[in-house]
Symmetry: C2
Subunit: 267 residues, 2 copies
């Protein structure tokens, strides 16, 4: 489903990524080893129909959690995933998730007590790191090592469908809880990025602290959700791009799985 | 992703459906009212790009259960779903699910005690009813009313990826449990159809009996899984096209969601 629009977006992202690379080099000189090659340039090829069918089916297996515990995008699907994430397909999928969530939210009788809550993950749920993956190359295995430095730049744009949903839920009286696997040390950068992307007035921003470091994401997030329930919140909805955001205990009435074929965080 | 192959498949299915319609008319004269119009013919149109993006995203929302409790295929997606189900897209998705399941199965240490089990739903998991939907028109709301009569014909083909998986699991020593929402009254037709489609030597074929009629699918299937566990089986895998096949209690170690954008069975 490539189009001229996609090529324009790819060009813009490549251009933007070059700017980001300068920022990273300026702020984090120790990361320069990652810039010795561009993994994207050595992978470019014309995908064939067979790859496209397989990759689309692989993507579905990721989103339904049939694939479970995958560690890398299959080599033949790197171009597919890049096109998915940088063109209309990803945003179209996100729009339908937001629509599903909003339809459910409208069924909730939000009380005046201010305890009706909705939980959001941050990365690939409220903010998009596509620029980061575009720069390092989708599927580049060492990419996670530099993620904290990227987050510190606070340059992620909002996922527009999520921003619209966020504001709608707020208008409806839901308390918005941001529950992220990002470390507490990234709180200032995270707040700055969220504000600049258009998010504000959340009820709580819950991040990983030292005692949480050895917990799985599912354990950490389940415990935090249980604490919220203990403090009187009713968790109506939960939006996350990873199954580990949504499973475990103290789950919300409805969980909404946002698409993410770029990386997998173990349960 | 339409192609000449798709048109050939559509032609073949239309031809086959005409033959099926004769069979239905011959065996069930009371159903003739359903043949007074052909819902397919009045819906044909050339889908536009916007519809295709939306419908692909709608399909993802179904497969991740974000859509939950949907009752009808959106009108603009009827052609999309028909093309999905009758061309390569559906079979490609099914192949990847079977691959995921087999990869997991290979990690299981199957014991000699004959209690390592794998659960399969039947409709849209082992057998395909696409011919039925092709005949009545995808999304035709009254379609469920005639389903028992269709099942009685015992003409469903196997979903090939599932048949390969079924036989592989059997070779590996798993006991195969067929757990279906079909009524007990359809046992003979179901067995005949399964045999003719290539399935054999299952451990149990569990169907709905009168005491199960008022239960939800999730309740019925969870109770039956619990009984299997009580009888000493370890449920390693569970394959089903509906979330109601996979959720509830006494769930298998791994659940595999097969695609089905044709219909939804409530939890």
């Amino acid at each position: 489903m490539a189009s001229t629009q996609c090529l324009v977006v790819l060009f813009l992202i490549t251009f933007t990524s070059t700017a980001f690379s300068r920022s990273i080099l300026e702020t984090s000189p120790k990361t320069h080893h990652s810039f010795t090659f561009n993994p994207i340039s050595i992978r470019r090829k014309i995908p064939n129909d067979c790859d496209n069918w397989y990759c689309d089916s692989w993507r579905l297996s990721v989103e339904t959690d049939n694939a479970r515990s995958w560690t890398q995008i299959p080599a033949r699907c790197l171009d597919f995933v890049e096109e998915y994430a940088t063109c209309h397909h990803y945003s179209s999928d996100l729009e339908v998730v937001a629509k599903n969530a909003l339809e459910f939210a409208k069924e909730v009788n939000v009380s005046i007590h201010g305890k009706d809550a909705w939980v959001f993950d941050i990365d690939e749920t409220l903010l998009s790191n596509v620029g980061y993956f575009q720069f390092y190359g989708f599927g580049h295995v060492d990419v996670a090592a530099l993620f904290s430095e990227w987050v510190d730049l606070a340059v992620d744009p909002a996922l527009s469908a999520s921003l619209v949903l966020y504001k709608e839920l707020q208008k409806m009286g839901f308390k918005l809880i941001l529950l992220t696997g990002r470390n507490e040390s990234l709180r200032n950068a995270t707040k700055k990025n969220l504000f600049e992307a258009g998010y504000s007035n959340w009820e709580r921003l819950i991040m990983r602290r030292p005692p949480d470091m050895n917990k799985t994401v599912t354990e950490f997030k389940s415990e935090k959700r249980r604490e919220l329930i203990y403090h009187g919140f009713t968790l109506h909805g939960n939006c996350g791009d990873q199954w580990s955001d949504l499973r475990g205990f103290a789950v919300a009435t409805r969980s909404f799985k946002l698409p993410n074929p770029m990386y997998y965080i173990p349960l």
